[in-house]
Amino acid sequence: MATTALDQRAHAASHAEPTGLWSWITTVDHKRIGILYGSTAFLFFLMGGIEALMLRIQLGTPNNTFLAPETYNQLFTMHGTTMIFLAIMPISAAFFNFMIPLQIGARDVAFPRLNAFSYWVFLAGGLFLNSSFLFGAAPDQGWFGYANLTSRQYSPGLNVDFWMLGLQILGVASLAAAVNFFVTIVNLRAPGMKLMRMPMFTWMSFITQVLLLLAFPVITVALILLMFDRFFGTHFFVPSGGGDPLLWQHMFWIFGHPEVYILILPAFGVVSEILPVFSRKPLFGYAAMVFSGVFIAFLGFGVWAHHMFATGMGPLPDTFFSLATMLIAIPTGVKIFNWLGTAWGGSLQFKTPMYFALAFIAMFIIGGLSGVMHASPPADLQQTDTYFVVAHFHYVMFGGSIFGLTAGAYYWWPKMFGRLLDEGLGKVHFWLMLIGFNLTFFPMHILGLNGMPRRVYTYPEVLGFETLNRIETVGSFILAFSFLIFLINIIKTWRGPRNAPADPWNGATLEWAIPSPPQEWNFAQIPAVHGRDTLWEEKRARGGKLPEPPRVSGQGIHLPNPSYWPLVSALGLLGLMVGVILEPHIGPWGIITGGVILLFGVFNWAFEPAG
């Protein structure tokens, strides 16, 4: 029976989704939570970008006085912390949230309220960290916070405290989300969706959750020890009491290295979805792609001290970590070749997602190669702590993660919002971003090898760094402008009609089988999965395209109730941490109040009646 568009709208109206602010505050719908994550993260990304522009203005001229040194140090610390914890990770989380249940054929995640909780705690952490600006005490010790600079003696202000406690809050959010997605992927797959039939985005996200679960506890402990040093006078990292600053570095990087794989694997997953769809052939070497991802994650726990080659650990540790780092290049290379193999012999469709996905590969190759150059300690001793490293990680984190996640945004925008982003503006965004990005970061390779160290608020004329710094500053503004184009595209699209089809790209995975945007329950009937690229299989079986899926009534489908207890609990946690910062002024009362609210929220959450 063919339903007319009018009929479809009538069905939708009679079972309209709740609207209004309260519905967003109490939502436990993974799709809404995904949108909350994505929009919040995008705002933080813009903040981090403005911080970067200020850094670039300061560095555009030698001996510049645009920023005082302490301001510069706060801005570069916040830029790094923001981009890693408040931008890339939560944008990835936005996609985990929206797409994982859809890709595995589920109605929601395993723990919808825990999901909401992790978003509110993330927001709390981001607000907490940035509130430090209001105190004039933004973190200023670098995103890596090396001891013993972070000790009370050398960092007496609130800056390090904000960083330390803010990261703890964010850690809770990450851990909560990781438990949730791990269980969701393991337990809520539709019948027939074996692990080796899962879409690549879900696979890479799955591995990311495992990394989160194993890496975050380590930084949690490191931050706890730092907290005890600063608040209770212990000497874990303070040499005068027998402590060792190097211990901080070990602990931090045991977290820090898996963290960079947490940052890149989701983008790997996104690109591994986009390439096949826009090449119109399956991913080359699916099994190798899965196993290389697993191998990278596993090995990623064994290379941490390659961040510490300059510390003089001795030849045996140096050798071990150097060889382990080189080893990791192999599965990474396998992935790049498999992507190439996917495009090779395909019928490449150059839509905006494909542009970004291809640029991802091109940029990541560069970032990966500079990474291999770092793997050798005798060479790395010149490169480390210079702009060469800054070039490397921007190529993998921006050229890699951001380009990949931007590709994901263009790709999944129609599914999430029912509208396709404008192709023309998308291409302008792309070219400006590619050119701006390379102008900004490529010269950094040269500057680093020619003597410019990192984290310096200025440099003298005589060292010759001016020309390339100037070019980089210009590049950074072009890059910033490209995001303005993106914003314009978003706004223009938002104002346009909500008319995207369910499957605009001829996709291979389950999210394209349901309307754009999906109805609250995602699937009217949980689908049965018969193979990899399950939607292509189905289309092939039916001789071509599938009919546009109708919007149906949701009767008989049970959904979890909305709840405000996750928000209350998150507020309690935030209050507790604010109480810690304000303890010198208000005593333990902030901590106690926050703790009580947290317990109150958690208990009510636990005893909330069933839906």
Partner: protein, 210 residues
């Protein structure tokens, strides 16, 4: 605990209830947490003897001539360890009762678990105050710092477990923990076993190995 999850997801890909899988996942993560704390303790073990004392197993004499006796009281802590181990047995018995709908058995064994939990926490509180009296605080030396942080966080985990089990005991008292809801206890029991296993590692590392 809410039970809407059971209705919404009748079948799972593994056959395991999602909440059970979740607690195992959380426990996996917590293993890394305690592994880091224990590693920190072991790493700092190397550097202690620069002093000042007191120390767990060794006598230490300060440059001024003050003598610090070893501070660890093995007998009491061994008793606490045994009590904690028994508590794991008791919670297993409580769970068996719950699964069979035996309310009296559930209340009895869960109370026994709780008493053991209270005893252990009490022992730790006593030990901490005893150490402070003998001159060992967080700030005194790296043994103090590492010891208090490691055992303190373990003790916090035990306390959270006690509160959790106490809540369930009160629910059982009110008749709100029937056999169909025994999974709620099973999840708490898994957490409790984990906390116990962590102690089984901490006890020899801190108290027995010199």
């Amino acid at each position: 605990m809410s039970d809407h999850a059971a209705a919404a997801h009748p079948e799972t890909a593994t056959g395991l209830d999602s909440r059970k899988l979740a607690i195992w996942t959380f426990i996996g993560s917590e293993c890394l947490f305690f592994a880091t704390l224990i590693s920190n303790y072991l790493v700092h073990k190397e550097t202690w003897l620069s002093g000042p004392g007191p120390f767990p197993h060794e006598v230490w004499k300060s440059p001024a001539g003050q003598v610090f006796e070893p501070i660890i009281e093995i007998p009491l802590v061994t008793l606490g360890t045994a009590v904690l181990l028994f508590s794991s047995l008791f919670v297993v018995l409580a769970l068996a009762s719950a699964q069979r709908g035996n309310r009296r058995g559930l209340l009895t064994w869960l109370a026994a678990t709780l008493l053991c939990g209270f005893f252990f926490v009490g022992m730790q509180v006593y030990e901490f105050t005893h150490f402070v009296h003998k001159g060992l605080t967080l700030k005194t030396n790296l043994f103090g710092a590492s010891f208090f942080v490691l055992t303190g966080f373990h003790g916090t985990h035990v306390t959270i477990g006690v509160i959790w089990l106490l809540t369930l005991w009160i629910l059982a008292l009110r008749g709100k923990l029937p056999a169909e809801k025994s999974l709620n206890l099973e999840i708490a029991a898994l957490y409790w076993h984990f906390v116990d296993v962590v102690w089984v590692v901490i006890f020899p590392v801190v108290y027995l190995i010199k």
